[in-house]
């Protein structure tokens, strides 16, 4: 993006075309969807981690439309402010974001999700709509330091693709 001839960086999180699609897909109301819930739970089991989340990254918050293992203040709020989220990094980069030890990660170590909830490891991958917008992140997380293999990331991307198919199919049925 150029402003007065100077190259500037437009934050993808604030991209109104992306946010409009999130609204049009009904992702501001969809909670406790059983198929997405099952997908999040299945992913947590597959990765042997306590938490699996389908996180929609909004302009100022991340919103958990499906999750397993999320409780306490985070679960009660259905999400978190976007500035605390791991998933914002997935949307900003439109690529995988992996944290093996959040307590020493330069971007994430001060997040309340790390300091209060004790999250240590995270792997998230973009959920990309048919229109090419990154809606959010399909992610797994846990409280132990952990690495993620390339095979595991391939699996996570498959989960993300299935989540997007469910979201878009559901929208087509409603329309």
């Amino acid at each position: 993006m150029k402003l007065n001839g100077i190259e500037t960086w437009a934050d993808p999180i604030k991209d109104t075309a992306r946010l409009s699609e999130i609204g049009e897909l009904g992702l501001t109301e969809l909670t406790d969807d059983p198929e997405l819930q099952a997908l999040a739970a299945d992913a947590a089991v597959a990765f042997n981690l306590p938490i699996g989340v389908v996180s929609i990254v909004l302009d100022e918050s991340q919103y958990f439309i499906a999750r397993t293992g999320v409780d306490g203040w985070v679960g009660g709020a259905d999400g978190t402010p976007v500035e605390w989220s791991f998933c914002r990094n997935v949307v900003r980069s439109a690529s995988d974001f992996v944290v093996e030890d959040a307590t020493v990660h330069p971007v994430m170590k001060d997040s309340p999700l790390v300091k209060l909830e004790g999250l240590a490891c995270y792997a998230g991958t973009p959920m990309v709509s048919s229109n090419g917008h990154v809606l959010g992140s399909f992610c797994v997380k846990g409280k132990e330091v952990r690495s993620f293999s390339e095979d595991e990331m391939v699996l996570l991307r498959e989960y993300a693709a299935r989540a997007v198919r469910l979201i878009e199919d559901r929208r087509r049925q409603v329309a």
Partner: protein
């Protein structure tokens, strides 16, 4: 519930308020549309501005989520999550929210 605190110590989240909510809407819609969307949601919620408590802010946010404009719904949900997060974290940290 009175909004007596302004920031969660150490975590940088400002207390959600009407001004910040309208500003967030304006970033998505422009100032004029944002003001109109906010006033309309407040009216539907039966809330008379200025909105001074988290409870009433939440009522307006829930009306925003019901809007027929996708970007307004996004802003409303964003605000609801931030209100819930602020309230839950404040309570956990032993503060009044």
């Amino acid at each position: 519930v009175a909004t007596t605190t302004t920031r969660i110590p150490g975590y940088g989240q400002d207390l959600p308020c009407e001004d910040s909510a309208v500003q967030s809407l304006a970033e998505l819609l422009g100032a004029d549309l944002a003001q109109r969307a906010w006033a309309s949601a407040a009216e539907r919620a039966g809330v008379r501005p200025p909105v001074e408590t988290l409870d009433t802010l939440g009522e307006v946010a829930r009306e925003l989520v019901l809007s027929d404009r996708p970007l307004v719904r996004v802003a409303g949900r964003s605000l609801l999550v931030r209100i819930g997060s602020y309230r839950a974290l404040s309570l956990m940290l032993g503060k009044t929210a």
